[in-house]
């Protein structure tokens, strides 16, 4: 059964089509890559799917439910969370607070400010996650103290901690050194083991082809093909799309 179905999705900015009747599917508990040359509309597609950007037309069906005009925060609450191309952590909050905001929800209303807030459970969750990405010692540092690579890991960790079923990663591997890359890979595989579904935008071809069960290719905002990694790598149209570009 398809966990995510995209039907004729399109979006234009002052007449210029960033995404034009895009369609593809993501099967449950798989890792699906999304590739295409620069300007192919990958990030715009992400923004449209997660409703951070209102779509002109098209349908997004997530876990069998047509999302229609659901606000972005509700889409996340339904279980579809995403990271951003430029990292969006809260610089003036500590790493712990950045992660707590993802996994603790029951105390968000102001009247809960007067009851005793017991976030011990969330703290253990955060410690486990920080151990996985071995950034435990930065727990009480401000997010602004982290390096680029560390920030990327924390943003991925934060997205995972929202307990989402479908996780969309926007270039998780770009600009980080090989050791951290290994950590990202482990994280992704562990998510898959836990039954989650992952959709990844990535330019690092070896990395992407290595982890993806299927790959979707986009060109100039349109769907080019969707197939197994081997098929995609050997297909002349993909090469030409990248070269012709």
């Amino acid at each position: 059964m398809n966990f995510l179905e995209i039907h004729s999705l399109s979006k234009a900015f002052d007449g210029l089509h960033a995404v034009e009747n895009l369609h593809f599917t993501v099967k449950k508990n798989t890792i699906t890559g999304l590739i295409g040359p620069n300007g192919a509309g990958k990030t715009t597609a992400f923004n449209l799917i997660t409703h951070f950007l209102p779509k002109d037309s098209g349908k997004v069906v997530y876990a069998g439910e047509n999302l229609k005009k659901l606000p972005a925060y509700k889409v996340v609450q339904r279980g579809m969370a995403r990271t951003f191309q430029q990292i969006r952590l809260w610089p003036n909050l500590t790493v712990r607070e950045n992660l707590l905001l993802a996994c603790s929800r029951e105390y968000d209303s102001w009247w809960k400010s007067f009851t005793h807030t017991n976030e011990a459970h969330q703290d253990t969750q955060i410690d486990e996650m920080l151990d996985k990405v071995n950034l435990r010692k930065y727990k009480n540092h401000l997010a602004s103290d982290l390096s680029y690579g560390q920030s990327k890991l924390i943003e991925i960790a934060r997205t995972i901690l929202t307990d989402a079923e479908l996780i969309l990663l926007d270039e998780p591997a770009s600009g980080i050194n090989p050791t951290l890359l290994r950590t990202v890979e482990d994280l992704i595989f562990e998510l898959k083991k836990q039954g989650k579904t992952i959709l990844v935008i990535e330019h690092n071809m070896p990395f992407l082809m290595g982890i993806s069960d299927e790959v979707v290719v986009m060109e100039n905002g349109r769907f080019l093909m969707q197939d197994k990694p081997e098929k995609v790598q050997s297909d002349p149209r993909v090469l030409e799309a990248y070269l012709g570009g």
């Binding site: 900015f13 002052d14 923004n47 951070f52 950007l53």
Partner: protein
């Protein structure tokens, strides 16, 4: 009622011209420096008072007095930018905005101490107004000049921004400061030009306002608050928007009150009721493109 329509439209055009002269400076400064220059309105008072000092106290004829006061206001405008806004140019826009608020109350206080609290007249003799269309329209020389100057300056500014090298540089830096840098366009020079032009326009507005309503330390506040809403009404950063917003407010005030649609006690609220209503319909202003919240 209709026979006073012409006079009401004229009143609206005159008020609109004065607001536009302030709003143009505001929107240019916002375009390049990304904050609302709250102290910009005080330039009106500086222009008016310096003109009074030259024209009335030291009896210079009007034109030299005007040129001198405009020159001084431009110098003050550029100095303000150098001293107070240049150091915080890269900071979060809230910082220069709060500094501008501080400057505005500081300048008002200085004027109050130097010239005293009561109202001064800008020149001794009062000018008779000319009558046009056999009495249907009465306009004083200063009102006519104010309208003509405003139109001429608007066209001039438009040409300056479109045609001259400096104008293009300002537009480039306004759209994206890093692009400006890569092409070696000095932000400093452009800032100087923008604050200079802004001060020139407001000095002229100040002189004409002085002829309209005499001089008081807070004379800049009322008109700059209207200019703020005109700038946002049009769409922040757009010259066309600022002009349209200014005349919309000027005409709305005179027509709504003049034709009895709105009680005259509510005049001061009209610009803001229009602004808030419009923001409900088009949150990005009449001429603004619907910017995507994600692109910040």
């Amino acid at each position: 009622m209709s026979d006073i329509l012409i006079q009401l439209i004229w009143n609206g055009l005159v008020t609109g011209s004065l607001i536009a002269l302030v709003a143009l400076g505001l929107t240019l400064i916002y375009g390049i420096a990304h904050f609302i220059q709250f102290a910009h309105g005080e330039m009106v008072a500086i222009g008016a008072y310096t003109f009074m000092v030259f024209h009335k106290l030291s009896a210079w004829p009007i034109v030299p007095a005007a040129l001198a006061s405009i020159f001084i206001t431009i110098v003050i405008g550029i100095l303000l930018e150098k001293l107070f806004f240049k150091p915080v140019r890269e900071h979060d826009p809230l910082i220069p905005l709060v500094i501008a608020i501080g400057l505005s109350i500081g300048i008002q206080a200085l004027i109050l101490i130097i010239f005293g609290p009561n109202i001064l007249t800008i020149s001794d003799h009062s000018y008779e107004s000319y009558s046009f269309l056999d009495g249907a329209l009465l306009a004083t020389p200063s009102q006519i000049l104010a309208f003509v100057f405003a139109v001429v300056l608007m066209i001039g500014l438009h040409l300056f921004l479109k045609k001259t090298k400096r104008g293009k540089a300002i537009r480039a830096i306004s759209s994206n400061r890093s692009i400006g840098k890569t092409f070696g366009l000095s932000t400093d020079k452009s800032m100087m030009w923008v604050f200079g032009i802004g001060s020139l326009l407001t000095a002229i507005a100040g002189i004409f306002l002085g002829f309209e309503q005499n001089l008081e330390p807070l004379m800049g506040v009322q008109i700059s608050v209207k200019a703020f809403s005109a700038v946002i009404l049009g769409a922040i950063g757009s010259v066309r928007g600022a002009i349209f917003g200014s005349f919309l407010i000027g005409l709305a005030e005179s027509l709504l009150v003049g034709l009895g649609i709105v009680a005259s006690g509510f005049t001061a609220g009209i610009p803001f009721v229009i602004l808030i209503l419009m923001l409900l319909i088009r949150p990005e202003g009449l001429f603004g493109k619907r910017f995507v919240s994600l692109r910040q």
